[in-house]
Amino acid sequence: MSKIKEQIYFDYAATTPIDPRVKRVMEPYLDDKFANASSVHSMGQDSANAVLKARDTIAGFLNCKANEVVFTSGATECNNTVFKGVSEAMKEYGNHIITTKIEHPCVLESCKYLEKRGFKVTYLPVGSNGVVKVSDVEKALTKKTILVSIMYVNNEVGTIQPIADIGKLIKSFRSLSSVPRFPIFHTDAAQAVNYLDCDVDKLGVDLMSLSGHKIYGPKGVGALYIRKGTLIEPLMHGGRQEDGMRAGTLNTPGIVGMGSAIQEIKKTTLRQAQGGENQENKRIKFLRDELINKILKTIPNSKLNGDKKLRVANNVNVSFKGVEGESLLMLLDGEGIAVSTGSACASGSIKPSHVLMALGRGPLESHGSIRITIGRFTKESDIKKLLAVLLKAVKRLREISFF
């Protein structure tokens, strides 16, 4: 992790570094424990056992059965499987899908794909605080609704969506409906796993997407929780891996890494369950609040995007009047500080962020926003350095603009 030392990393929502403990657990599976987990020989069975163990760990974390966890290549694959797989399996029962305007592109693009194939999609708005209203979900539900998909935590502004309340709503809607298992409820929890309770029964979800590389595990691995009895078709066809739900040789090192990453999170939440405090999350939250408060106090005409309370512990998203986000990102980068921008400018498209627009921010404000996400390896001194550099950079750009 020497890279992280010379460069200060504030982009944990994009991806996290691998925790050294996770890396250690993975290493043998990149080395001599390379055998295919589907092979019958004992070397293969070694790999199969490692996968089994990871699956159990994750099932424990989600409070589900081990055979309800399907390993994938990541959250994008999970979400694609959900949208394409559920709509395919349930097309006889209805053609309506409910989601929100602030979902990840892999959800929104999957919706567009389905719209071209005759499905109707309702994109729920969010309030200016970036949170969806349960009553809006209720109003949108129809007899034809086969799938409701709402992210647990938004990746740009970090707002926490009322998943458990929506879960309850859907349960009561089902009990009144003639086809009791519909609609299916899915949440993309990629940004939530580190900080929030992901008990699938408490949340009342049938499907949940998880990603390895957002939780200090490796890239290229994810897990999809599928409640037993949920109608869904696979995306990948081929071998009988994952009970036919996801063909393709199991990514043993990745899966082992993901299991280990979840194990690390479980350790901290376990302490919490035993009445102790989750020190890790408390620390991160403290740093985040310090960052938010200091930015708003020391930089005039700055504004926090997204609700201050209903917000995941590690996210700061701010707009600065008279500042363009990409320029700011580049200036900070020049000082060895890595942040991300809400304006998609830097990432190829030049349209302002769909999330900030959904929060009712104008294009100019959306354009002048940056996202700072912290995590396990962020130190207090990093925050101090960021604040100092940020202050200067905003000032500099305001000199260039006519602010």
Binding site: G334, C345, A346, P352, E399, F402
Partner: protein, 137 residues
């Protein structure tokens, strides 16, 4: 994402600011990304009616609420037009400006922002001093 050359211009633009008693001001906005550019020019006037050839751009400055590429490319625009006549400046194309900068594809439009602001400034100048232009003497 950006070339070294572009980064150099972005980090230390030489022509940022306002010109207090500018002879003309041009504005341009990019409807795609919402970014805005202001350009101020100062011109050494000639009383001759040879409008395009004799009026020389003495100084120019820009202000922008724009991305890194917009900042760098606008600075480059000014570098290229200083000391040139209005006629020469008018002929400047996006290719002239972006040459050697290796602009990423999605950023080409950012280089146009400065040129448009310049052209609008020239129009502003022509309008203000149309009496010079039409002077038959």
């Amino acid at each position: 994402m950006y070339s070294k050359k572009l980064m150099k211009y972005f980090k230390k633009p030489k022509n940022v600011g306002k010109i207090k008693n500018a002879d003309a001001v041009g504005e341009a906005g990019n409807p795609l990304c919402g970014d805005i550019m202001h350009m101020y020019i100062k011109i050494k006037k000639s009383t001759k009616n040879d409008w395009l050839k004799k009026h020389i751009i003495e100084d120019a400055k820009f202000e922008t609420l724009g991305c890194g590429a917009a900042i760098a490319m606008s600075d480059r625009v000014i570098e290229l037009i200083k000391g040139k006549t209005i006629g020469e400046a008018e002929k400047l194309t996006p290719d002239d400006v972006a040459k050697g900068f290796d602009l990423p594809k999605q950023k080409i439009h950012c280089s146009v922002l400065g040129i448009e602001a310049l052209k609008n400034a020239i129009i502003d100048y022509e309008c203000k001093y149309s009496d010079i232009k039409q002077d038959p003497a």
